[in-house]
Amino acid sequence: MKINPLLVGLFLISPVFILLISYPGFSVVDSSEVFQVFKFTFHQALVSSLLATVFGALAGLSLSSIFDSKKYSFVESLYYAPSFVPVLFVVFSCLNIGNLWQISFKGFWGIVVIHVLINVGLVGALYSKILIHRLSLMNRLSLVQGLGVWRYLRKIVFAHTKKDLLFLFAVVFIFCFTSFSIPLIIGGVNSTTIELLIYEKLVVLGEVEQALSLALLQLLFLVFFLGLINFTQAKEKAITTSWNPFFKNKIFLLVPIFSFIVLFVGLWLSASFSLGWFTELALLPTLIKSLGLALFCGYSIFLFFQFIFSILPHSTFEFFMSVYSSPSTVLIGLALVVVSSVWWQGRWLVLLFGYVLLYVPVLFKMFVQNFLSSLKPALKVSRAMSANYWLRFKMITFPLSYSLCLFLGFLTAIWVLGDYALASLLLEADSTIALVAKNLLRSYRLDQASFVITIIIFCEFIIYLLYKGLAYVGGQKY
């Protein structure tokens, strides 16, 4: 069975084709307006990603020095937590803390601080894996040879991981560059990003051609940017997995743990709980629909990545995925609106496709590219053994990729549960639990908003337990 992986690539960029067919005209946007917005977007993304990378790298050094695997897993979860929870929750917590201590989370620095809070732990966790997997032997050798800390950091860590740091910087940069929810809530008048401008042109002003021009400009910039980064990415394989005995300083663990504490203290500060709101807001049917959508999206991503792995290796497709960034959320949303206008009853299914289109590129960059270096030798050898497609999938691809695909499905499920950006473009208000929370925030019903956000966090915890259960079962079998 031969399926060209480039068809997957075509599927991922299908929103662009849908919109080019539906709106064949391009409209030029005022260049000074675009320049100002682009400058602001670039500036906040650059500062956010620089800070997140620097502090994240230090946090990663500290994490990699934890010897006990259970402690490591626990701390790693704290690192990941801020990037996994809904953006709405992050913004809400920061605003609460800001209110308490008279700190303003508005404008440029507000956006930067929140971006850093979300991403510093993620960078730390990913960087720690790189330090452990690739530098394991060098760490031990450095310790035995009595290398000083600064020399170790310069000659070993930085020298061998600068391409990885660049890659992590690029991943955070893209997240910050295409950020929509954070600038929308806390940006302010002079803090318009390209994504917000696209949204404004499309939803508020109805200027579809201008929105499309901006979205394509944004996409081209990101592809160019990622193309530059891709040529510098390290291609070394993982050697072994072992903790880092050299860097004993655990102080930088505080960096992402601090962001974890900030977020949850922020929620706790305004946490209100009244079971009566559950019925007042008629949350049960909305919650069931949202959970169903989240779990179904998670399952779809699980299957989609299994499918991708089964048709790899393919160097052109892998290159495409390394340079391709999903189009603007708003552009995907508009394409979904076009499709669902033809098939209104299937708009929830269309929304599911939208989430796949939105999350697959970023998940591929963050977690899959490194995994492929361990999957490819197994696939090569199995092909040399004349194993057919199904035997390879059953015995090699599925068992080796099960836990990663499960993790990607879990991530997608919690992101979908907390998303309102894409859902708001396609569904009616209050169709999902995240839309309910967003609308409550906008109407300043903060107590009820905090209650609904707490429900979202609780549901995400349930999804986490489900994920852990499935991971345990899979771990026993594979």
């Binding site: 030798p377 050898v381 053994m385 004349s386 035997l391 090699i396």
Partner: protein, 210 residues
Amino acid sequence: MSVVKNINYKVGNFELNIPRFEIVNKGITLLVGESGSGKSTLVDLLVGFRSCREMSWQWNELNYSDLSIEEKQIGLVLQGGFVFPHLTFKECVSFAATARKRKESEWGPELNNYLQALHLQPSILKQKSSKLSGGERQRLALICAFIGQPKFLLLDEPFSALDHENKERSVKLLNNFTEVHGVPALVITHNQSSSLKVSSRIEISHGKLV
């Protein structure tokens, strides 16, 4: 005799340029060369992991290079003895045999013979291959290459992780396999054992035949 022609492959600053070389139809062809001379790249090209459009591999009136990787039915041992880390010893062997549509009733007794010949205990069959030592992995890779009844053997440093005694046992097994089954083998090694029955020898240096 199988004839390989027109290998012209460039990766980075390195170029593999071999106009023609021959592999004996019966017996072992030895491929030697210093580190970085292009031996493993040549193996990749022969298997089909890398492609070179001009390359042709004529064998038994077939253009072997036109066949897909699966159709070539090669018994392959990669440098370092790669095996599937998530499978047990027996599952790896079973996979290699099942891929070539062999039933356990056929390969089961063969496996026992290989275990005996390579001085491996039957208890190793239940061990996960990720827990095996380097030498055990290499012997497992060798067994997986043999069990699939290949038409051609390509062995890249198949004895590098073995001590002297295990190496001699593996060499004896390889000699026996090629003689009994009439399967040609291309063996890459730095350190040739005196007991390896070599029918032909090829030397590469800096991407070219010497």
